[in-house]
């Protein structure tokens, strides 16, 4: 028997601010001019403006200020790595405590949800039709911005729920599923038609879309978790599916007692957190480089260590040992760091003969996502497997635009960047459609 998980194990980690906390915190913001927090926010929300509105009790105006720059303000308030973005740039950060911008943003957005108010309404119809592929943050943002401008938008989504990784991939500790679905509904109320269960590439194809629409925006994100290519891989769980189950049918998620998570990025951290919270006695994250090269943010690393997760660096899995259909152990080889590779990080090399056996009854892999197969069939110019775009977010095929994770060849991908891509792409598409008949 594994430890019984607490009924609160999968609740949103940070409680909402009380009214009093929100007013006190908002009054602490000194209202910088041309504020650095606003620059650091990828969608450039006017942060001092929305915070001031909280302090004056104008919560509706506060939410409008947020949504004007970022239609997915409620999701971003919860999932943004604020330490690296707005809060990391707050002028109060160096000597005092930075303003809790993310939590204030959530306060303003939650109030809106309670009131069921629609902030925006579509402009008069322009008579132009745009197809958006993928209902993740990038697709929703682009579709919503275009609808605001009066374009007729159809959003195609292959899964049964919209929201992309906000719905399927971000653990409930950060974002409950309803938050993402409420945003999808808001985008629909702006007039966006969402075609659920439609996988573009099969039926219809992108060529069909090009024929029937004035422009196409591709926001298909990334694909499945990469393969480890080791014997016994079929016994290893896919981290994304692990998380997905924890969100959609948590009672069906079987968690081991002694769990190994392969990888040390954001997804790996989330899998390890889930395993611990759902009762695993021991969770070990293994990574082939050292903590210096980890792609997880420092605050995530701190967090997961506090959750009781242990780390083993400089080890690479080579084989899964199993018995009667169950995992027994993971065979690994010790690594050493070599010269920098193309990512600029030192390339790990196996130490010959230094193998080891790590016991485990469950192994989860979270070593990054593949590109989706659609990209390769599109005949678009790519860059390291990602879709190549110009400064207008237009691909090598005129009239086809793209944004979100599927174009992010460099830097760390995040929801808020996908939202900004969608917004900027919508502006380019709008320019194109109104200027070129």
């Amino acid at each position: 028997m594994i430890n019984k998980p607490s009924p609160h194990a999968l609740q949103e980690l940070l409680p909402p601010l009380t009214v009093n906390e929100a007013i006190t915190e908002s009054a602490r913001c000194i209202m910088c001019f041309d504020a650095p927090c606003t620059h650091a926010c990828p969608t450039h929300i006017d942060i001092p403006k929305f915070i001031k509105k909280i302090s004056t009790g104008n919560l509706l105006g506060s939410a409008r200020t947020i949504l004007e720059s970022n239609l997915l303000g409620a999701t971003c308030a919860r999932v943004c790595p604020v330490q690296e973005l707005c809060e990391g740039a707050c002028v109060l950060g160096s000597e005092h405590k930075p303003i809790a911008i993310g939590r204030l943003q959530r306060h303003a957005m939650d109030n809106l949800k309670g009131n069921k108010i629609d902030i925006f309404h579509p402009a008069n119809s322009t008579g132009k039709k745009v197809a958006v592929v993928g209902a993740g943050p990038a697709g929703l943002s682009c579709a919503g911005e275009l609808a605001k401008l009066g374009h007729s938008v159809t959003l195609y989504e292959k899964r049964e729920l919209g929201g992309g990784l906000s719905t399927y991939g971000i653990i409930v500790l950060r974002e409950p599923i309803e938050v993402a679905l409420t945003e999808v509904a808001m985008i629909q109320r702006l007039g966006v038609r969402i075609e659920i269960g439609k996988e573009i590439g099969i039926d219809p194809t992108v060529a069909d879309l090009q024929e029937n629409f004035h422009a196409v925006f591709i926001a298909i994100g990334l694909g499945h978790t990469r393969a480890l290519e080791i014997p016994g891989e079929e016994y290893v769980l896919d981290g994304l599916e692990y998380i997905e189950r924890s969100k959609l049918e948590p009672s069906q998620l079987r968690v081991g007692r002694n769990v190994i998570v392969i990888g040390a990025g954001n997804t790996a951290i989330d899998c390890a957190t889930l395993a611990r919270r759902l009762g695993a006695e021991r969770v070990t994250m293994i990574y082939r480089r050292t903590e210096k090269e980890m792609t997880a943010y420092p605050h995530e690393y701190d967090f997961v260590k506090r959750e009781g997760v242990t780390f083993r660096f400089l080890v690479q899995p080579t084989k899964v040992h199993h018995e009667n259909g169950g995992v027994k152990a993971l065979e690994c080889v010790r690594m050493t760091l070599g010269d920098p590779d193309c990512s600029g990080r030192p390339f790990p090399k196996p130490v010959p003969g230094a193998t080891m056996l790590l016991r485990a009854d469950q192994i989860v892999k979270a070593i990054g996502q593949n590109k989706t197969s659609l990209i390769s069939t599109l005949n678009l110019k790519t860059e390291g497997g990602f879709i190549h775009i110009n400064s207008d977010f237009e691909t090598s095929s005129p009239g086809i635009f793209a944004g979100g994770d599927c174009i992010r060849a460099r830097g760390s991908a995040s929801t808020v960047m996908a939202v900004q891509d969608g917004k900027l792409a919508a502006r380019s598409i709008h320019q194109r459609l109104v200027n070129h008949g």
């Binding site: 209202m31 001019f33 504020a35 650095p36 330490q83």
Partner: protein, 461 residues
């Protein structure tokens, strides 16, 4: 260690801090506790004519995270029977011989009423009497309080009635709800009062409830003006205190002044002393935080006095008064400019926007190559803390254009980051009075003014 004791017109106390006549001095039990906490004296909550109070009698002015920047009240004088108050006054005085026990009084404007109350107070053994000519609500509608304080003749008349029978020191407490505070003070001097105190509360309406559209606080749907006190009124009180200190008649009379109005910290206290108060009264700070505030009032004041080399309170009293003058005596050739300490600056750009929108457009933003950069010049696709911080412009005053208005200094959130630097103006010092005596035409004709400016090299930005 500095000696904090005072002798205020014969009323002695171990430190200058007295509770003002107000809710903290409503009963003997409270004052007993206050003295245990170290208060040097207490002015008993005003006793006199029979009254009835209402609920919701206090309102507060909240600003930012400060919950009670000021309090406003429609409380009347003591609503406890006068006999109970008098009995408790004598009990407290007997128990605390070294503390100042002063009794505030207000009765109908009739000689017998005043004679009677003064005699009864004296029978308690109290050290002094304060005449409440200041309550601006309720009592004034009945011809008492500020209805007296606002008319110098009434002030003088009633003080004379009091002085007819008074055997202990009498303090006249002034209302700030008057155009010239000097007038009622002179009236008190003329009537032979022993001391003055100021300020009582300022007429005010705290606000309107945006839900119900009623006045806050709402007393069953009604509300009205009440008395305003606390940190927000301090500058008004300091000005009135200095006005008395500068008036030849009031100053010449030698009457000591008990200062109050917004004293919350030892710093406030020191400022009141420096502008001429020789005892200090506190109400709102106690209503907010309790009697315990007296500890830092004494401790901070004593440390500051030691640091400055003041051994006694009288050495401090009035020390800054000679710096107070009128505009006509300011040196027109004095010049200061703002300078930013770049090591302390957190680049909030509050000084920039203040100077640009409201002052003289002389703070510039420079990028890291030293090139002037307009606000929000960044690329919309740039983001992240490193980018935002590393491209944040430096904020520099263009000193040749700075008029030294001091707005930036006031808005800067960082202590000692902007300095107002005194610089030579290259002009001989001259006051407006001196200038206009010699050249009256510059005050009458803009052309003459321009000629004068050109001659002196004065540029207007």
């Amino acid at each position: 260690m500095a000696d904090l004791s005072v002798n205020f017109s014969g009323i002695r106390s171990p430190n200058p801090f007295w509770l003002a006549s107000a809710p903290p001095t409503n009963s003997g039990a409270q004052i007993h506790r206050a003295f245990e906490n170290g208060w040097g004296g207490a002015v008993w909550k005003t006793i006199g004519a029979p009254v009835l109070n209402v609920s919701n009698r206090y309102g507060a002015w909240r600003y930012g995270n400060e919950k009670m920047l000021a309090i406003n009240n429609v409380e009347l004088i003591s609503d406890r029977p006068i006999e109970v108050n008098l009995r408790e006054i004598s009990d407290v005085k007997r128990a605390w011989p070294d503390r100042a026990v002063v009794v505030s009084a207000m009765v109908e404007s009739k000689p017998v009423a005043w004679h009677d109350v003064i005699r009864r107070i004296q029978d308690t053994g109290a050290d002094g009497i304060e005449l409440n000519y200041g309550c601006p609500h309720g009592m004034s509608e009945r011809g008492m309080g500020s209805a007296v304080g606002q008319v110098p003749e009434y002030c003088e008349q009633i003080t004379r009635w009091v002085m007819d029978v008074a055997k202990i020191p009498v303090i006249v407490k002034l209302t700030p709800n008057i155009s010239d505070i000097v007038m009622p003070a002179r009236a008190a001097v003329a009537a032979g009062a022993n001391a003055l105190s100021l300020i009582n509360t300022v007429n005010s309406i705290i606000g309107v409830d945006l839900e119900t559209l009623e006045i806050t606080p709402s007393i069953g749907g009604r509300g009205g003006h009440g008395g305003y006190a606390g940190p927000a009124v301090k500058p008004i009180a300091l000005n009135m205190l200095a006005a008395l200190g500068r008036d030849s008649i009031v100053r010449g009379s030698g009457l000591p002044i008990s200062g109050m109005g917004g004293i919350s910290t030892w710093r406030d206290a020191a400022e009141f002393l420096l502008l001429g108060a020789s005892s200090l009264q506190v109400c709102t700070a106690v209503m907010h935080y309790g009697f315990r505030v007296v500890e830092d009032l004494c401790d901070g004041l004593s440390n500051w006095m030691d640091e400055k080399g003041f051994a006694t309170i009288p050495q401090v009293v009035g020390r800054s008064l000679h710096h107070v003058t009128d505009f006509k005596d300011f040196d027109l050739s004095f010049k200061a400019i703002a300078r930013i300490d770049q090591d302390k600056c957190i680049r909030c750009e509050l000084c920039y926007v203040a100077c640009n929108d409201s002052a003289h457009q002389c703070i510039d933003l420079f990028d890291k190559h030293g090139i002037a950069s307009p606000p929000t010049a960044y690329d919309q696709s740039s983001n992240g803390k490193l980018e935002a911080i590393s491209t944040r412009p430096t904020v520099v005053v263009r000193e040749e254009d700075c008029v030294g208005c001091r707005l930036c200094f006031n808005v800067c959130p960082v202590e000692n980051c902007i300095h107002m630097l005194q610089v030579p103006s290259g002009r001989p010092s001259v006051t407006w009075e001196e200038l206009t005596q010699k050249q009256p035409e510059v005050a009458e004709d803009w052309k003459q003014m321009e000629r004068y400016r050109k001659k002196m090299g004065i540029q207007i930005h």
